[in-house]
């Protein structure tokens, strides 16, 4: 018997033009949580996809319990006792929860599915994990958090000895993360190995036994988690010392109100209701809350993407009604959306097109584009934001998440908007790029622009905002000034559920 349940030796993988993995190793002991860390583009997900049979490594070998194996498909990986929770994997929306859980291994005989067995097994599995979800409900109607829990339940049900979790907490609230950790602890006590990928330092230090770090497709090293600190991990990940997570804010917002929102309500009862606040010139207003607090829905309504039932908005003292994003743009709004890949980038278009797309009219005369002007402004914008790319002709899908985000910010800066709405501006991007984006934000407010930033990362919320507005179930539950900032205060406001209060009142 080998000491390790999994050994990956000297794994190499090359994509056209990029060496994604260069002689990477990973040794995982049974009954441990092994964190895999690295900046985006470091090759963590690629390594896991090699293990799960989605990619075929060009070189190296994989040993399970000391025996070399070849894994050519996801099915073979699962047959070998490997399960994976995928990052950003969407469910099959129009099928039931239970079908999503048992996809690819439906219970039954001779190709005929046994629905009753499937229902019973799902029920049992959910009860065992303490999940209260109807197995027959449509997957598309569930919240992101429930879908993520469903994925976790699915991985558990495969009964694997190695479970890969790629960013399992990206759409979970703190309470749900704790729930997940309970499940992880149980799996660990059952002598299963868990490979845990996350960017959240706190989680890593809390749950993992060992930490392996990768940088630029290479293996850096493995340490016991107890011997590491956040600073140490960051240092190993970026290859240099990072003293500050946030740049220093030198100026203060002015008192001039640029945007005033009064009693804004959505036509959908469960969405945002009665939202009021003032945004000042040069201010960064953070919006905190749990997943499902309707923060995204609110800013999308402000940007003309969703309907508004009642309430008023004043921009620079004049009434503003957002009927469409075109309207919003004309009034100086910019929205950096939460789902970069789905609603941000045009993956198959070059950086140039991605940068100028929101400002195209500006370069046209009688509908004919002025190419040199486009290129000049795009290259200046990208240079200003320090976008790292070979040229403007590079397809944006080939850039790292951080650089994509910078291109998107450049896109909106070109439109000369004075209210930037940033929805999770640093989700899924690495530490170095985060810092750069923070710097860009500060530069913008210095120039007199105002920022509304939604963030689910509390350190970011507290590190960057001048004021924090917290929402819960679509209502604003409170504002916090700088001297009131603490994780506890934000959580208290973020969990002021109306249903709970009602129950308490009864």
């Amino acid at each position: 018997m080998s000491e390790f349940v999994l050994e990956m030796k000297n794994i190499t993988k090359t994509f056209p033009g990029v060496k994604a993995l260069d002689g990477v190793q990973l040794n995982v002991r049974p009954g441990t949580v092994h964190a895999l860390m690295g900046e985006n583009g470091a090759g963590k997900s690629t390594l896991m996809k090699c293990l799960f049979g989605i990619y075929k490594p060009d070189g190296g070998e994989i040993l399970l319990d000391g025996k070399p194996v070849k894994i050519n498909s996801a099915k073979e990986a699962m047959d070998n006792g490997i399960a994976m929770i995928h990052q950003e994997l969407h469910p099959i929306r129009f099928r039931s929860v239970m079908e999503n859980v048992w996809l690819g291994r439906f219970p039954g005989k001779m190709g005929v599915v046994d629905h009753k067995a499937m229902y019973d097994k799902t029920k049992e599995l959910f009860e065992d994990l303490g999940l209260d979800v109807d197995p027959l409900a449509l997957a598309g109607e569930q919240s992101a958090a429930i879908l993520q829990m469903m994925e976790i339940a699915r991985a558990v049900s495969i009964n694997a000895k190695i479970i890969i979790m790629d960013e399992p907490t990206s759409s979970l609230s703190d309470r749900e993360v704790e729930f997940l950790f309970k499940i992880i602890n149980r799996l660990r006590s059952e002598n299963r190995a868990i490979i845990y990928i996350s960017h959240k330092m706190k989680e890593i230090l809390q749950i993992s036994d060992e930490v392996s770090i990768m940088r630029d497709g290479k293996y850096v090293g493995t340490w016991p988690a107890v011997s590491l600190t956040t600073e140490e991990i960051i240092k190993q990940m970026v290859g240099r010392e990072m003293t500050n997570q946030f740049p220093v804010r030198e100026d203060k917002p002015s008192d001039e109100v640029v945007l005033s929102v009064r009693h804004l309500s959505s036509p959908i009862k469960k969405s945002f209701q009665d939202v009021s606040f003032d945004l000042h010139k040069g201010e960064i207003l953070g919006i905190g809350g749990l997943v499902g607090a309707q923060r995204t829905e609110f800013v999308e309504a402000l940007f003309g993407l969703r309907g508004i039932e009642s309430g008023e908005v004043e921009k620079d003292g004049k009434e503003y009604k957002a009927r469409s994003p075109r309207d919003a743009k004309a009034h100086g709004f910019a929205l950096l959306t939460e789902e970069r890949r789905a609603t941000g980038i045009f993956g198959i278009l070059p950086i140039l097109e991605n940068t100028v797309i929101a400002n195209q009219k500006h370069y046209a005369h009688l509908g004919i584009l002025n190419e040199s002007k486009r290129v000049a402004e795009a290259s200046e914008g990208c240079k200003e934001l320090n976008v790292k790319a070979p040229s403007l002709e590079t397809l944006i899908q080939n850039l790292s998440g951080g650089n994509q985000q910078k291109v998107l910010i450049a896109r909106w800066l070109l439109t000369n908007s004075d209210i930037l709405i940033l929805d999770e501006p640093t989700r899924g991007i690495d530490v170095g790029a985060k810092y750069e984006i923070y710097t860009i934000m500060l530069e913008q407010v210095k120039q007199g622009k105002s920022i509304i930033m939604i963030s689910s990362e509390q350190p970011e919320l507290m590190g960057m905002s001048d004021r924090i507005m917290v929402m819960c179930e679509g209502r604003v539950t409170g504002f916090l000034n700088k001297d009131e900032y603490s994780q506890e205060n934000i959580m208290r406001l973020a969990t002021m559920f109306a249903s709970h209060n009602k129950a308490a009142a009864d």
Binding site: A74, L89, I92, R95, N100, G108, V113, P267
Partner: protein, 416 residues
């Protein structure tokens, strides 16, 4: 204003209403048939309502059974009548309701429409279309399409008819071919289609070709191959005739033929059986679930360990098998074949599927919807012919129906 009614009460009401309609139908029927009541018959001029009493009895029976089955399930809860639910009901069943209105209008304009014979004609005409639509729905469910369906129908009809001619017929396709068992040429015809179906599947699954292009290429190939076959001496592109009566019976036979009742075409039970089989495959088998999964989210299907290649191959082969069956039935029904049989059928089938709620984006679609989609088109075509609407106007109306039906259907999924 919302009105809440307990489910039990609602079910009881359904049963009562069903019985009431049934009784009215039965009474009218008695008035029509019993000589003793002929006085009432002429007084109410009941001859003019044709078979309406029988339809009433069937509707009553269905309503009553629906209530009865629902009450046996003890679902409990309430049925809410509110303007919101009502408008949801309208959107969900818009096209069905539109068809109902059309049928009533036709019945008023031309009471002869209310005959069992008409209903059976409509079902018969729907049969082969339904089989093709059921085949094509698989390819639509994976967000694909199949443009080769119509030409496969033609291929199957030519191949089967060419080998099933009477020994005495002058222009035999194969003058020296012995009188083989009926099933052998049928299998050959369906097999030929399945080979092309496998080619479709291979192009799509192996090279990740868009089904539109892959099946377009194969469609052209099939037509060419079929025409070459059709042009072989001594036939030289003559329409194939002289089909053996035992083969023609497959499409023309009528069952339950008694007295004045002209019987039910054999095509109706054949289509019904295929319908049940396809429903079973889609809802009860791993293959069916995988089809929905691949259509709903292909990436998720891949990482769940589904063999996407095999599944896509299966889809196109199964679909081509259904086209083959439809082609054989067409040849039998018309007792002949040419290489132009089936031309354009795929577009009718796609239209019927889409009107029946199958999403072109994949992952959504039910057999019941497809049945309704096919029936709607046949009813409209038959009904408009019945009241002498010109074929050109029929085309215009058909097009409007496709556009409106899909527009209404999409509002269901639209984000607010």
């Amino acid at each position: 204003m919302a009105k809440h009614v307990a489910r039990e009460k609602y079910d009881r009401f359904l049963v009562m209403a069903g019985i009431a309609v049934l009784v009215i139908g039965a009474l009218l029927y008695l008035c029509q048939t019993l000589p003793a009541l002929s006085g009432i018959k002429s007084a109410l001029s009941l001859r003019k309502i044709y078979d309406l009493p029988i339809f009433l009895m069937i509707i009553g029976l269905v309503l009553g059974l629906k209530g009865f089955i629902s009450s046996k399930k003890h679902l409990g809860g309430e049925v809410v009548f509110s303007s919101k639910n009502f408008s949801a009901f309208l959107t969900n069943n818009a096209i069905l309701l539109a068809m109902l209105v059309l049928v009533i209008v036709i019945c008023i304009l031309q009471p002869r429409f209310m005959q069992i014979r008409v209903a059976l004609d409509i079902l018969t005409q729907s049969s082969t279309r339904l089989i093709i639509a059921l085949g094509i729905c698989f390819t639509l469910l994976i967000a694909g399409t199949d443009l080769s369906a119509g030409r496969m129908v033609g291929l199957a009809s030519v191949v089967s008819a060419s080998m099933l001619q009477t020994a005495t017929y002058a222009n035999r396709f194969f003058p020296d071919l012995p009188q083989v068992e009926v099933w052998m040429p049928i299998l050959a015809a369906i097999g030929a289609c399945m080979i092309f179906g496998a080619l479709n599947g291979f192009l799509v699954a192996k090279y990740d070709m868009h089904p539109f292009i892959a099946t377009l290429a194969v469609q052209v190939m099939i037509y060419g191959a079929c025409s070459l076959y059709f042009d072989m001496p001594p036939n030289n592109s003559q329409p194939i005739g002289g089909v053996r009566p035992d083969f023609a019976a497959l499409g023309q036979m009528r069952i339950f033929q008694t007295g004045s009742f002209q019987g039910i075409s054999i095509l109706i039970p054949i289509a019904a059986v295929i319908c049940v089989i396809i429903w079973f495959i889609l809802n009860k088998t791993v293959f069916g679930k995988n089809v929905y999964a691949i259509g709903g989210n292909r990436e998720a299907a891949v990482v769940a360990g589904i063999n996407v290649f095999r599944c896509i191959m299966g889809i196109f082969i199964l679909a081509s098998c259904l086209y083959g069956i439809a082609g054989v039935l067409e040849a039998a029904r018309t007792a002949g074949a040419t290489n132009n049989y089936g031309n354009g059928y795929e577009l009718d089938a796609i239209a019927a599927c889409v009107v029946g709620g199958v999403s072109l984006n994949g992952g959504i679609g039910k057999v019941s919807g497809i049945v309704i989609g096919v029936l709607i088109f046949t009813v409209i075509q038959y009904g408009l012919q019945f009241i002498n609407v010109s074929p050109m106007w029929q085309q215009v109306i058909k097009g409007i129906i496709i556009a409106v039906a899909v527009a209404i259907d999409l509002t269901k999924y639209r984000k607010k």
